[in-house]
């Protein structure tokens, strides 16, 4: 447990000391802010919700996760520090969980910065806070799953760009599985839809916390973290 903390703190510090995280956060805030404002303007300020932010945010968070996680393991390989991490008395599971939690802290920080959208609404109007809370829960869970996918992709290569592309590929494939599900017949369609990253998010936006959705996002997170751990173990068997 202590080791997980040491590694996640190191990752968080490393994010905060490099320009990358700030640039990505700035872009995220800029884009979601624009969508947030244009949505409000579009409804003539009658619908005081964060819909605009969420519509853009759910896709942007996938990109954000891919960029945030791409260096986590790929860079260690390139620097040779992977050899250090794998020879100190720390379990592979602790390495992966530490890295995951480090990136999750960064993502959570970024999400906290967007809280000024609902706060603005509360100052100037009377938004329904229920859906705001559930939406943030949804974004957080979607973020967890995306980060786990990104971390897994990073564990496959020593090239950050390759890691980002692989992560993007998996994320968008899982995202658009929902659309494929709409066209596939019967039971197959339902399964595809259930497996899609995008299927479960609208519930959260509507203010519904469906156990199935929570379980889905947590399972995806666990599955990809597990695969990242296995991928680390296989490294020793090259």
């Amino acid at each position: 447990m202590k080791n997980i903390g040491i590694i996640s703190r190191k990752e968080l510090k490393s994010y905060l000391s490099s320009p990358m995280a700030y640039i990505v956060t700035a872009i995220f805030l800029m884009l979601t802010g624009t969508f947030f404002a244009t949505y409000l303007a579009g409804t003539n300020y009658s619908d005081t919700s964060i819909r605009g932010f969420l519509d853009a945010g759910q896709i942007l968070i996938l990109l954000f996760a891919a960029v945030l996680t791409m260096r986590l393991i790929a860079e260690e390989r390139k620097l040779g520090t992977w050899e250090l991490l794998l020879t100190v008395p720390v379990r592979d599971t602790e390495i992966i969980l530490g890295k995951f939690l480090g990136s999750l802290a960064m993502l959570t920080g970024m999400l906290l910065l967007t809280l000024y959208y609902p706060i603005l609404l509360m100052v100037f109007g009377d938004p329904d806070l229920g859906p705001v809370f559930t939406s943030y829960l949804g974004l957080f869970l979607l973020g967890c799953a995306s980060l786990a996918i990104g971390l897994f992709a990073s564990s496959l290569t020593s090239n950050q760009i390759v890691a980002a592309v692989v992560a993007g590929g998996i994320l968008f494939a899982l995202w658009f599985l929902g659309i494929a599900g709409n066209f596939a017949p019967g039971a197959l369609g339902e399964v595809l839809t259930y497996l899609s990253l995008s299927r479960h998010f609208p519930d959260f936006v509507r203010g519904i916390v469906d156990t199935k959705a929570v379980v889905y996002y947590l399972s995806v997170t666990a599955l990809f973290l597990y695969m990242a751990i296995r991928s680390t173990e296989t490294d020793r068997w090259r």
């Binding site: 040491i6 190191k10 510090k13 040779g80 250090l84 020879t87 008395p89």
Partner: protein, 309 residues
Amino acid sequence: MIRIQNLTKYYGKRLAVDDISFNVEKGEIVAFLGPNAAGKTTTMRMITGYLMPTGGDVWIAGHNMASHSLEGRRLIGYMPEIVPLYTDMTTRSYLDFVARLRGLDKKRTKIRIDEVVEICHLEDYIDVILGKLSKGFRQRVGLAQAIIHDPGVLILDEPTIGIDPIQVAQTRGLIKELGKDRTILLSTHILPEVSMICERVIIIHEGRIVAGDRIENLTTILKGGNRIRLKVQGPAEKVTTRLARIDCIQAVAYEKPFHLVEFPADQEPQAEITQAMVQSSWTLLSMEPVKMSLEEIFLQLTAEEETGS
């Protein structure tokens, strides 16, 4: 302290380490010597738990590295061939990170950082970003992180490569100093280094151990023969032919002003040589046994392997 048994490693189909076994006893400094691609790094990676062997076992103080890897890893300090530095960290934050992962608490970490910084002469670089360090100082930080937890076993993969002569001398002195109360296995392909810091050498070539012994013994064992160096007052060429005529002498070479004669280990040609010189009325100025230098051993070993296989 380090016990290695029938260790084998295939990279895919490529055999990198071929069934090697050896021990390093507590308190020994042992050199792992071999040309490029001999399998030194691969072996060290298996000892430290970075790579799993294809076959065979590694024990560190009785802990099997396959089944009790964490216990084994706790006892080892490891300096990999590529010094593992986070280029965006300072020396201090890096040593702190490694120390914490090595299980040191906050207080002990602070004390140990001060100690290793002094030992490795890093005082002026303690707050410098690692990416900006020169090669020699990167090596020093690599060594500092390897000893931060005061390990009983040190595995050093080419610790003196790429640093200038003065720093090399310093580093060698440091390793010798560290070896007083630690078990050290270090790899190198610099021969003089071996006789300077090590008590024993294990020579590896194409994944196999071709020799392993105390440095003094190695010469005779390998060679199966001995050499004597003569200084003779007389015509060099004639002396050479005369020496060659002596029965048990296998080879004669003239390296001004000496004649070198080679003979099997079980023979003693000294008396015959003296007699021959006296008969030809040349004066024998000196006669002394020659130890083969490690360099020659090394060349010979690797050459024999090639012709033998």
